[in-house]
Symmetry: C2
Subunit: 220 residues, 2 copies
């Protein structure tokens, strides 16, 4: 890590720090120490702290766009399976903190606290995923829907996932420890959200013995 360009050393060191503490709480000295460069380097290479931050976000989502392969399904994959896969991916990306790359954290920060780097991030990174989800929803729905409705359903899906990321603390307080240990793994939560959504759009039921035929366990 120490034979790289100073500029890139700063960028890669700034990433995790900005991701963890946010723009204001991260200090240039901390970043420079992590990068093992002089404090003046940031101002020399980037002008000021803010421009470093924007560059870092740009860099983060560029790395992320390359790393994340949108799941490729065969043409026989059922939309329900696609939805399950999509939700699992989304939730996994948000929750597995340990392995969560700093890029994801930084991007989430940009969602909750948008700066000037936000628009670019949405257009290049979120919109493709959003459109993919919208496509799945259209496949699932029993009829053609106006796009605003498809979009709102997408937001409902994403919102359910995001909740466990931003309000996890609340969940742990409201729910019992036993239930948390048993029913709140990433896989269990993804299954709940997918099932809830499938049921909402009329492509299955949440309940094993509901009136409608049990077509929610198809293929998979």
């Amino acid at each position: 890590m120490s034979d790289e360009d100073t500029r890139t050393r700063i960028l890669t060191s700034a990433g995790p720090i900005f991701a963890e503490k946010g723009f204001a709480q991260a200090t240039v000295r901390e970043i420079c120490q992590a990068a093992d460069v002089n404090v003046a380097s940031i101002n020399y290479h980037f002008g000021d702290k803010e421009r470093l931050y924007i560059e870092t976000v740009r860099c983060a989502h560029r790395l992320r766009v390359e790393a994340v392969q949108l799941p490729a399904w065969t043409e026989t994959t059922t939309p329900a399976t696609k939805l399950r896969g999509f939700v699992r991916m989304l939730l996994g990306r948000m929750l597995e903190q340990a392995e969560t790359p700093w890029q994801s954290q930084l991007m989430l920060r940009e969602v909750l606290n948008p700066t000037s780097a936000c628009r670019e991030l949405v257009e290049e990174h979120f919109r493709p995923h959003f459109e993919m989800l919208a496509g799945i929803i259209r496949e699932l729905a029993p009829m053609a829907l106006p796009s605003y409705q498809v979009h709102q359903i997408c937001f409902s899906v994403v919102g359910q996932c995001l909740y466990y990321r931003v309000a996890w603390k609340i969940v742990t307080i409201l729910e019992s420890d036993a239930a948390l240990a048993t029913h709140y793994s990433i896989d269990k939560l993804a299954e709940h959200i997918a099932q809830f959504t499938l049921s909402a759009v009329g492509a299955g039921s949440m309940f094993p013995m509901a009136g409608t035929p049990d077509n929610n366990k198809a293929i998979d």
Copy 2:
């Protein structure tokens, strides 16, 4: 406002400032200037900045608990109507920024970025609402459900609402201006979320001419 006790003047001035900028970004000088008191007053009356913050959060939710009346329904009110009312209240509380009292902002901040004041806030303020929502879900569901499942459905409802609060910026980028103007009012969004949820738990359908009988427009 200037004849009150200094201590309460600080508390009421600190509220909106902490709510808007968060703990770290708010400065004691700013708070003291707003309260028209000496900078030393905070340390004299509260010890330090952090204890002032905790007191402010406590004060916020105490005021809020009194102000917010849980909607009282008659015993003939259908659970679907209750859910619509609940979602509308939740979403309204989160979105009407203009009139949003600083207490709500501060509480949201505590959700997203929990401090030691969080647990007390959840127990005294959120849990009653949560239990009420859980009761509605139990009424709606076609069969008895394990409580963890009821809770997860509650989280799905709250998550859908919270999304428009924390990621509104993303919504405005992803959705067209025309659709935003037409279909993203608080009432429209509340209706979508309620309908989505009703459909998910098998108490209605999102689609006017779906296979199941259209029992989602009952009474209301």
